[in-house]
Protein backbone atom coordinates (compact mmCIF):
# COMPACT_ATOMS: atom_id res chain seq x y z
CA UNK A 1 0.00 0.00 0.00
CA UNK A 2 2.72 2.42 1.00
CA UNK A 3 4.89 1.39 -1.93
CA UNK A 4 3.65 3.67 -4.65
CA UNK A 5 4.08 7.01 -2.83
CA UNK A 6 7.57 6.12 -1.63
CA UNK A 7 8.54 5.16 -5.16
CA UNK A 8 7.18 8.43 -6.39
CA UNK A 9 9.17 10.35 -3.80
CA UNK A 10 12.29 8.45 -4.77
CA UNK A 11 11.77 9.23 -8.43
CA UNK A 12 11.20 12.84 -7.53
CA UNK A 13 14.41 12.96 -5.54
CA UNK A 14 16.35 11.43 -8.41
CA UNK A 15 14.94 13.95 -10.83
CA UNK A 16 15.89 16.76 -8.46
CA UNK A 17 19.41 15.44 -8.04
CA UNK A 18 19.85 15.15 -11.77
CA UNK A 19 18.58 18.67 -12.18
CA UNK A 20 21.00 20.05 -9.57
CA UNK A 21 23.92 18.11 -10.97
CA UNK A 22 23.17 19.52 -14.41
CA UNK A 23 23.06 23.04 -13.03
CA UNK A 24 26.30 22.69 -11.11
CA UNK A 25 28.01 21.36 -14.21
CA UNK A 26 26.80 24.24 -16.33
CA UNK A 27 28.04 26.72 -13.69
CA UNK A 28 31.42 24.98 -13.60
CA UNK A 29 31.94 25.83 -17.22
CA UNK A 30 31.94 29.53 -16.46
CA UNK A 31 35.18 30.29 -14.74
CA UNK A 32 35.38 33.94 -15.65
CA UNK A 33 38.91 35.23 -15.59
CA UNK A 34 40.23 31.85 -14.46
CA UNK A 35 39.65 30.38 -17.89
CA UNK A 36 41.10 31.62 -21.16
CA UNK A 37 40.04 29.58 -24.18
CA UNK A 38 40.76 26.01 -23.05
CA UNK A 39 43.37 27.06 -20.53
CA UNK A 40 42.15 26.75 -16.98
CA UNK A 41 43.87 27.95 -13.86
CA UNK A 42 44.49 25.48 -11.05
CA UNK A 43 41.85 27.51 -9.23
CA UNK A 44 39.16 25.81 -11.32
CA UNK A 45 40.36 22.37 -10.23
CA UNK A 46 40.55 23.24 -6.53
CA UNK A 47 37.87 22.35 -3.99
CA UNK A 48 35.31 25.08 -3.19
CA UNK A 49 36.73 25.40 0.33
CA UNK A 50 40.21 25.93 -1.06
CA UNK A 51 38.92 28.52 -3.50
CA UNK A 52 37.16 30.33 -0.66
CA UNK A 53 40.44 30.46 1.25
CA UNK A 54 42.17 32.05 -1.71
CA UNK A 55 39.37 34.55 -2.37
CA UNK A 56 39.42 35.98 1.14
CA UNK A 57 42.61 37.98 1.54
CA UNK A 58 42.43 37.64 5.28
CA UNK A 59 41.83 33.92 5.32
CA UNK A 60 44.51 33.23 2.71
CA UNK A 61 47.58 32.12 4.70
CA UNK A 62 49.77 32.98 1.71
CA UNK A 63 49.25 36.61 2.63
CA UNK A 64 51.42 35.99 5.71
CA UNK A 65 54.31 35.62 3.26
CA UNK A 66 53.27 38.75 1.42
CA UNK A 67 53.52 40.54 4.75
CA UNK A 68 57.07 39.28 5.19
CA UNK A 69 57.87 40.75 1.79
CA UNK A 70 56.18 44.00 2.67
CA UNK A 71 58.36 44.41 5.73
CA UNK A 72 61.54 43.53 3.85
CA UNK A 73 60.69 46.03 1.11
CA UNK A 74 61.55 48.88 3.49
CA UNK A 75 64.45 47.15 5.23
CA UNK A 76 67.88 48.60 4.48
CA UNK A 77 70.49 45.91 3.96
CA UNK A 78 73.94 45.54 2.45
CA UNK A 79 76.95 47.78 2.02
CA UNK A 80 75.20 50.17 -0.34
CA UNK A 81 72.80 51.05 2.47
CA UNK A 82 69.75 50.56 0.32
CA UNK A 83 66.38 48.93 0.63
CA UNK A 84 64.11 47.91 -2.22
CA UNK A 85 62.15 51.09 -1.55
CA UNK A 86 65.27 53.28 -2.07
CA UNK A 87 65.19 52.69 -5.83
CA UNK A 88 61.71 51.37 -6.51
CA UNK A 89 59.76 53.66 -4.15
CA UNK A 90 56.42 52.13 -3.26
CA UNK A 91 55.55 48.52 -4.04
CA UNK A 92 52.89 49.72 -6.49
CA UNK A 93 55.74 50.37 -8.96
CA UNK A 94 56.00 46.58 -9.20
CA UNK A 95 52.53 46.37 -10.71
CA UNK A 96 52.62 44.36 -13.93
CA UNK A 97 56.20 43.21 -13.42
CA UNK A 98 55.38 39.59 -12.63
CA UNK A 99 53.49 38.79 -15.84
CA UNK A 100 56.58 38.69 -18.07
CA UNK A 101 58.89 36.49 -15.98
CA UNK A 102 61.06 34.50 -16.65
CA UNK A 103 62.94 37.08 -18.72
CA UNK A 104 65.99 36.87 -20.92
CA UNK A 105 69.02 38.67 -19.55
CA UNK A 106 71.64 39.53 -22.19
CA UNK A 107 74.62 39.69 -19.82
CA UNK A 108 73.83 36.25 -18.43
CA UNK A 109 72.85 34.89 -21.85
CA UNK A 110 70.22 33.04 -19.93
CA UNK A 111 66.75 33.29 -18.53
CA UNK A 112 66.13 34.74 -15.14
CA UNK A 113 63.05 34.29 -13.00
CA UNK A 114 61.69 36.71 -10.47
CA UNK A 115 63.47 35.05 -7.56
CA UNK A 116 66.80 35.43 -9.31
CA UNK A 117 65.98 38.99 -10.36
CA UNK A 118 65.34 39.90 -6.75
CA UNK A 119 68.61 38.32 -5.71
CA UNK A 120 70.51 40.08 -8.51
CA UNK A 121 69.11 43.36 -7.23
CA UNK A 122 70.39 42.43 -3.80
CA UNK A 123 73.90 41.49 -4.87
CA UNK A 124 74.46 44.16 -7.55
CA UNK A 125 72.55 47.17 -6.30
CA UNK A 126 72.27 46.67 -2.56
CA UNK A 127 75.62 44.86 -2.18
CA UNK A 128 73.82 42.50 0.14
CA UNK A 129 73.91 38.75 0.43
CA UNK A 130 71.47 36.95 -1.84
CA UNK A 131 68.66 35.13 -0.13
CA UNK A 132 68.65 31.37 -0.27
CA UNK A 133 66.27 29.86 -2.76
CA UNK A 134 63.09 28.76 -0.98
CA UNK A 135 63.95 30.80 2.12
CA UNK A 136 61.16 32.65 3.87
CA UNK A 137 62.66 35.96 2.80
CA UNK A 138 62.95 35.16 -0.90
CA UNK A 139 59.52 33.53 -1.03
CA UNK A 140 58.06 36.42 0.92
CA UNK A 141 59.50 39.03 -1.43
CA UNK A 142 58.52 37.04 -4.52
CA UNK A 143 54.97 36.65 -3.26
CA UNK A 144 54.83 40.33 -2.38
CA UNK A 145 56.11 41.48 -5.77
CA UNK A 146 53.94 39.08 -7.76
CA UNK A 147 50.92 39.97 -5.66
CA UNK A 148 51.17 43.56 -6.94
CA UNK A 149 50.15 42.21 -10.36
CA UNK A 150 47.19 40.30 -8.96
CA UNK A 151 44.62 39.58 -11.66
CA UNK A 152 46.78 40.75 -14.55
CA UNK A 153 47.08 38.33 -17.48
CA UNK A 154 50.28 36.31 -17.83
CA UNK A 155 52.27 37.38 -20.85
CA UNK A 156 55.76 35.94 -21.38
CA UNK A 157 57.84 36.40 -24.53
CA UNK A 158 58.71 33.28 -26.46
CA UNK A 159 60.16 34.66 -29.68
CA UNK A 160 63.56 36.09 -30.57
CA UNK A 161 66.25 35.21 -28.03
CA UNK A 162 63.58 33.41 -26.00
CA UNK A 163 62.96 30.86 -28.75
CA UNK A 164 65.75 28.37 -27.90
CA UNK A 165 64.73 28.39 -24.22
CA UNK A 166 61.12 27.94 -25.17
CA UNK A 167 62.00 24.94 -27.32
CA UNK A 168 64.11 23.51 -24.52
CA UNK A 169 61.26 23.94 -22.06
CA UNK A 170 58.79 22.38 -24.44
CA UNK A 171 61.11 19.42 -24.99
CA UNK A 172 61.44 18.99 -21.21
CA UNK A 173 57.67 19.07 -20.87
CA UNK A 174 57.22 16.34 -23.46
CA UNK A 175 60.21 14.20 -22.46
CA UNK A 176 59.44 10.98 -20.64
CA UNK A 177 61.49 10.69 -17.47
CA UNK A 178 61.98 8.68 -14.32
CA UNK A 179 61.20 5.14 -13.41
CA UNK A 180 57.54 5.72 -14.17
CA UNK A 181 58.52 6.97 -17.63
CA UNK A 182 56.08 9.86 -17.60
CA UNK A 183 56.34 13.29 -19.12
CA UNK A 184 54.69 16.41 -17.68
CA UNK A 185 52.23 16.36 -20.52
CA UNK A 186 50.96 12.88 -19.76
CA UNK A 187 49.30 14.07 -16.59
CA UNK A 188 48.72 17.73 -17.29
CA UNK A 189 47.60 17.56 -20.91
CA UNK A 190 46.35 14.05 -21.60
CA UNK A 191 44.67 13.49 -18.25
CA UNK A 192 43.80 16.92 -16.95
CA UNK A 193 40.67 16.81 -14.84
CA UNK A 194 41.27 13.13 -14.15
CA UNK A 195 41.93 11.63 -10.78
CA UNK A 196 45.41 10.97 -9.41
CA UNK A 197 44.59 9.12 -6.22
CA UNK A 198 42.59 11.65 -4.22
CA UNK A 199 43.79 14.61 -6.25
CA UNK A 200 42.28 16.07 -9.36
CA UNK A 201 44.92 16.63 -12.01
CA UNK A 202 45.12 20.24 -13.05
CA UNK A 203 46.62 21.61 -16.21
CA UNK A 204 49.76 22.40 -14.25
CA UNK A 205 49.57 26.14 -14.69
CA UNK A 206 52.10 28.42 -13.02
CA UNK A 207 50.05 31.59 -12.67
CA UNK A 208 49.40 31.21 -8.93
CA UNK A 209 52.99 30.58 -7.83
CA UNK A 210 54.57 30.92 -5.34
CA UNK A 211 51.57 29.10 -3.96
CA UNK A 212 50.33 28.28 -0.48
CA UNK A 213 49.96 24.54 -0.52
CA UNK A 214 47.93 22.97 2.24
CA UNK A 215 50.12 19.87 2.00
CA UNK A 216 53.23 21.96 2.59
CA UNK A 217 51.56 24.05 5.32
CA UNK A 218 53.37 26.89 3.67
CA UNK A 219 54.34 28.74 0.55
CA UNK A 220 56.55 27.12 -2.07
CA UNK A 221 58.03 28.17 -5.39
CA UNK A 222 57.29 26.81 -8.84
CA UNK A 223 60.65 25.06 -8.85
CA UNK A 224 59.74 23.28 -5.65
CA UNK A 225 56.61 22.07 -7.40
CA UNK A 226 58.68 20.93 -10.39
CA UNK A 227 60.97 19.03 -8.07
CA UNK A 228 58.01 17.40 -6.36
CA UNK A 229 56.53 16.33 -9.69
CA UNK A 230 59.87 15.01 -10.88
CA UNK A 231 60.36 13.01 -7.70
CA UNK A 232 56.88 11.54 -8.02
CA UNK A 233 57.72 10.01 -11.38
CA UNK A 234 60.89 8.80 -9.68
CA UNK A 235 63.33 10.83 -11.65
CA UNK A 236 66.16 12.85 -10.21
CA UNK A 237 65.00 16.42 -9.69
CA UNK A 238 67.05 19.34 -10.97
CA UNK A 239 68.25 22.11 -8.68
CA UNK A 240 66.37 25.22 -7.69
CA UNK A 241 66.91 27.86 -10.34
CA UNK A 242 68.61 25.39 -12.69
CA UNK A 243 68.68 26.06 -16.44
CA UNK A 244 66.35 23.12 -17.05
CA UNK A 245 63.71 24.47 -14.72
CA UNK A 246 64.07 28.02 -16.00
CA UNK A 247 63.31 26.83 -19.52
CA UNK A 248 60.45 24.73 -18.19
CA UNK A 249 59.16 27.73 -16.24
CA UNK A 250 59.09 29.75 -19.46
CA UNK A 251 57.18 27.04 -21.26
CA UNK A 252 54.72 26.55 -18.39
CA UNK A 253 54.07 30.29 -18.14
CA UNK A 254 53.47 30.38 -21.87
CA UNK A 255 51.00 27.51 -21.56
CA UNK A 256 49.08 29.67 -19.10
CA UNK A 257 49.24 32.84 -21.21
CA UNK A 258 46.31 35.11 -20.47
CA UNK A 259 45.53 33.52 -17.11
CA UNK A 260 45.53 35.97 -14.21
CA UNK A 261 48.36 36.22 -11.70
CA UNK A 262 46.90 34.69 -8.54
CA UNK A 263 49.89 34.83 -6.20
CA UNK A 264 49.56 33.72 -3.48
CA UNK A 265 47.11 31.10 -4.70
CA UNK A 266 45.91 28.36 -2.37
CA UNK A 267 46.07 24.77 -3.55
CA UNK A 268 45.69 21.39 -1.89
Amino acid sequence: MGKTPSKLILAGCLALTACFAGKAFAADKKWGQYQVEDRRSGYTFAAPETRAMQDDNFQNPGMLWAEIGEELWEKTEGEAGKACASCHNGPETMKGVAVSYPKYVAEKKNLENLEQRINRCRTDNMKAKPWKYESKELLGMTVFVRNQSLGMPMNVKVDGEYAPFFEKGKAFYEQRRGQLDLACKHCHEDFEGGQLRANILSQGQGNGFPVYRLKWSGVGSLHRRFRGCNKQVRSKPYGYGSDEYLALELYVMWRGRGLPVETPAVRN
Binding site: Q59, P61, L64, S217, G218
Partner: protein
Protein backbone atom coordinates in the same frame (compact mmCIF):
# COMPACT_ATOMS: atom_id res chain seq x y z
CA UNK B 1 59.26 30.05 17.06
CA UNK B 2 60.32 33.59 16.76
CA UNK B 3 58.05 36.39 15.69
CA UNK B 4 54.66 34.80 15.54
CA UNK B 5 52.17 37.33 14.32
CA UNK B 6 48.51 36.94 15.16
CA UNK B 7 46.02 38.73 12.96
CA UNK B 8 42.38 39.57 13.60
CA UNK B 9 39.74 41.26 11.56
CA UNK B 10 36.69 42.74 13.23
CA UNK B 11 34.32 45.45 12.10
CA UNK B 12 35.50 48.71 13.68
CA UNK B 13 31.97 49.96 13.93
CA UNK B 14 28.76 48.07 14.50
CA UNK B 15 25.17 48.78 15.37
CA UNK B 16 23.81 47.62 18.69
CA UNK B 17 22.27 44.18 18.31
CA UNK B 18 24.06 43.47 15.05
CA UNK B 19 25.70 40.09 14.61
CA UNK B 20 29.30 40.62 13.61
CA UNK B 21 31.86 38.18 12.26
CA UNK B 22 35.20 37.97 14.02
CA UNK B 23 38.04 36.49 12.00
CA UNK B 24 41.41 35.42 13.31
CA UNK B 25 44.55 33.94 11.85
CA UNK B 26 47.86 33.11 13.45
CA UNK B 27 51.08 32.10 11.83
CA UNK B 28 52.07 28.87 13.52
CA UNK B 29 53.69 25.60 12.51
CA UNK B 30 51.40 23.51 14.75
CA UNK B 31 54.02 20.82 15.14
CA UNK B 32 51.97 17.69 15.82
CA UNK B 33 54.53 15.63 17.70
CA UNK B 34 54.10 12.79 15.21
CA UNK B 35 56.81 13.79 12.78
CA UNK B 36 60.37 12.63 12.87
CA UNK B 37 63.31 14.93 12.28
CA UNK B 38 66.33 14.23 10.12
CA UNK B 39 68.05 12.50 13.05
CA UNK B 40 65.16 10.03 13.31
CA UNK B 41 63.94 11.37 16.63
CA UNK B 42 60.43 12.65 17.11
CA UNK B 43 60.00 16.38 16.91
CA UNK B 44 58.27 17.35 20.16
CA UNK B 45 54.71 18.54 19.94
CA UNK B 46 54.24 22.27 19.85
CA UNK B 47 50.79 23.43 18.96
CA UNK B 48 48.44 26.12 20.07
CA UNK B 49 46.17 24.24 22.42
CA UNK B 50 43.70 26.95 23.29
CA UNK B 51 42.19 30.04 21.78
CA UNK B 52 40.30 32.54 23.85
CA UNK B 53 38.51 35.72 23.02
CA UNK B 54 37.51 38.13 25.73
CA UNK B 55 35.41 41.22 25.32
CA UNK B 56 35.86 43.78 28.08
CA UNK B 57 37.18 40.99 30.31
CA UNK B 58 34.28 38.61 29.67
CA UNK B 59 34.98 35.38 27.86
CA UNK B 60 32.92 35.36 24.67
CA UNK B 61 34.53 32.51 22.78
CA UNK B 62 37.05 29.81 23.58
CA UNK B 63 38.11 26.56 22.02
CA UNK B 64 40.58 23.79 22.82
CA UNK B 65 42.73 22.73 19.93
CA UNK B 66 44.33 19.38 19.24
CA UNK B 67 47.07 18.14 16.89
CA UNK B 68 44.76 17.76 13.87
CA UNK B 69 44.35 21.53 13.57
CA UNK B 70 46.17 22.77 10.48
CA UNK B 71 49.23 24.97 10.40
CA UNK B 72 48.53 28.72 10.30
CA UNK B 73 45.08 28.16 11.81
CA UNK B 74 42.21 30.38 10.78
CA UNK B 75 39.19 30.72 13.01
CA UNK B 76 36.04 32.75 12.58
CA UNK B 77 33.01 33.11 14.80
CA UNK B 78 30.02 35.38 15.24
CA UNK B 79 28.85 37.42 18.18
CA UNK B 80 26.20 39.98 18.88
CA UNK B 81 27.57 43.49 19.28
CA UNK B 82 26.01 45.20 22.26
CA UNK B 83 28.41 47.79 23.56
CA UNK B 84 31.62 49.57 22.69
CA UNK B 85 34.69 47.87 24.01
CA UNK B 86 37.94 46.10 23.45
CA UNK B 87 38.55 42.53 22.38
CA UNK B 88 41.44 40.53 23.69
CA UNK B 89 42.41 37.53 21.62
CA UNK B 90 44.74 35.02 23.16
CA UNK B 91 46.44 31.99 21.64
CA UNK B 92 48.03 29.66 24.18
CA UNK B 93 50.87 27.46 23.02
CA UNK B 94 52.19 24.20 24.45
CA UNK B 95 54.70 25.23 27.10
CA UNK B 96 52.57 28.16 28.16
CA UNK B 97 53.65 30.87 25.72
CA UNK B 98 50.83 33.28 24.91
CA UNK B 99 50.23 35.42 21.88
CA UNK B 100 47.87 38.28 22.44
CA UNK B 101 46.19 40.72 20.11
CA UNK B 102 43.79 43.49 21.03
CA UNK B 103 41.24 45.30 18.92
CA UNK B 104 38.55 47.87 19.58
CA UNK B 105 35.00 47.98 18.31
CA UNK B 106 32.67 50.96 18.51
CA UNK B 107 29.00 50.19 18.86
CA UNK B 108 26.43 52.84 18.11
Amino acid sequence: MANIKPRVRIPRKAKAGEVVEIKSLIEHKMETGQRKGKDGNKIPRKIINRFECKFEGDLVFASDWHPAISANPYLAFHMRAEKTGEFEFKWIEDGGAEYVKKAKMTVS
